[in-house]
């Protein structure tokens, strides 16, 4: 099947691109929409670096064909970044040294942005269980766990104000 028109809602904006049905959402985001915050590591669902949100649910962009996403709302790490400054998760990752090379970071942000909505006050164990779906070759994970805890506190306190 040759290229077809695909309409995508990404970070609150409508886009129309032309791509073959076999083109993965991760490749469309990076190549057609130039949203290169979504990283691609393994292309079989293991590493988590391509994670985006589909209608708010964290999903592997490498395991979805872009054509499947018509009528859905996609959020990438760019969409979770405020116009100025950093989001609480980003700020906490920065403060806790939760990243070095940053390859895994966008997937961690999209995953935990959704998870903290579901569970605003997670334990270390709960964070580790979720984090097991995002490979990080740099940090050793402890600083990411601390960052998620800190972000959770920042979000809870922010909401309480």
């Amino acid at each position: 099947m040759s290229k077809v028109a695909i309409k995508l809602a990404v970070n609150g904006e409508m886009h129309e691109i032309f791509a073959e049905p076999r083109k993965l959402l991760s490749d469309v985001l990076r190549e057609d929409l130039r949203l290169t915050g979504t990283h691609v590591g393994c292309e079989h669902g293991v590493c988590g670096s391509c994670t985006v949100q589909v209608d708010g649910a964290p999903s592997r962009a490498c395991l979805i064909f872009a054509i499947q996403m018509q009528g859905r709302e996609i959020t990438t790490v760019e969409g979770l970044t405020p116009d100025e400054g950093l989001s609480p998760l980003q700020q906490a990752l920065h403060e806790e040294h939760g990243l070095q090379c940053g390859f895994c970071t966008p997937g961690i942000i999209t995953t935990f942005d959704a998870y903290l909505r579901e569970n605003p006050d997670p334990s270390d164990d709960e964070i580790r269980k979720v984090l097991s779906g995002n490979l990080c070759r740099c940090t050793g994970y402890d600083s990411i766990v601390r960052a998620v805890k800190r972000a959770a506190r920042m979000i809870r306190e922010g909401a309480a104000e």
Partner: protein, 293 residues
């Protein structure tokens, strides 16, 4: 590598999907969550000419109950099963199984119908389908049928689904009042498929002996297995010192696992003994109303 070319179809009704499935037969693959199919397509282990996306069909994602059984729509995501309060009340092994599948983001997209149709011998839902006498409800343009789990799993990644058939829902037995359950597994890393997994249900009779028991094992052969003969001989037994270990030891003798790159046959037999024993002990504790950690 990237997937090979295919033609994409996005039916909005089940009838339309069945028509497409009948038309393209073996040349088509249904895509549900895509969490197993797309990895296979990305490495070109799967190269279907036609992909039939069932995600736009309404009415395939649900949890229903009638007290004695629970019915789950084929497109119901693992995450929803994990969080379902109805299932936690009526069939708690299913949320426990769902919670253990892969990673958070995979559970948000993967579906129970896809998991059964894939038929990985170490997967959680096929194990539970064997344990809880599931009926797999399938449709084609020729009509509907219900396939019992024991007739559904044929071999590794192979089911008795005919070309053109689509799974629409799965019915599981609900647990009875006073019936306990256990589910144990060993995986190398969080999110990996289990090397071996074991599950059991157990209810005591009025005399405190085993009144009802079911046991299933995964990762020990080409399909998950139900230990029917062993269940028969266990009924009426007492649950005193070493009872669970004795049953599990018999299971390890009966089942003939093979060695592969993940584990030797001997190691799998050891896992059967340990995991089934613990599942039975958990089931007994829950049958007695005790909390299990």
């Amino acid at each position: 590598m990237k997937p090979a070319k295919f033609e994409y179809h996005a039916p909005e009704t089940i009838d339309e999907a069945l028509f497409l499935a009948a038309q393209y037969g073996d040349d088509a693959r249904v895509i549900a969550g895509g969490q197993s199919l797309v990895p296979m397509m990305n490495i070109r282990l799967a190269q279907p000419d036609h992909v039939i996306d069932i995600n736009n069909i309404g009415g395939l994602s649900y949890v229903r109950e009638d007290g004695e059984s629970v019915e789950i729509g084929a497109l119901t995501r693992h995450h929803r099963i994990e969080k379902s309060s109805e299932l936690m009340r009526l069939c708690p092994p299913l949320p426990a199984a769902a919670r253990n599948i892969g990673h958070y983001a995979l559970r948000e997209r993967g579906t129970i119908g896809g998991s059964l149709a894939l038929a990985d011998p170490a997967a959680e839902f096929p194990l539970m389908a064997m344990l809880l006498d599931a009926g797999i409800m399938v449709r084609s343009t020729l009509g509907e049928r219900v396939i019992h789990a024991s007739d559904f799993f044929v071999s590794v990644f192979t089911t008795s689904l005919e070309p053109g058939e689509i799974v629409t829902g799965i019915r599981f037995r609900a647990l009875a009042q006073g019936e306990g359950w256990g589910f144990r597994w060993l995986a190398r890393r969080s999110g990996d498929y289990a090397i071996v997994n074991a599950a059991a249900t157990l209810a005591l009779d009025s005399g405190g002996r085993i009144g009802r028991i079911a046991m299933a094992l995964g990762g020990v052969g080409a399909t998950p297995v139900r230990l029917t003969a062993l269940e028969q001989s266990a009924i009426g037994g007492e649950t005193i010192g070493g009872w669970a270990g004795a049953i599990a030891a018999e299971a390890a003798v009966l089942v003939e696992p093979e060695s592969d790159k993940n584990a030797s046959a001997e190691f799998r037999k050891e896992l059967i003994e340990v995991l089934l024993e613990k599942s039975l002990e958990d089931a007994l504790a829950r049958a007695r109303g005790q909390a299990v950690v």
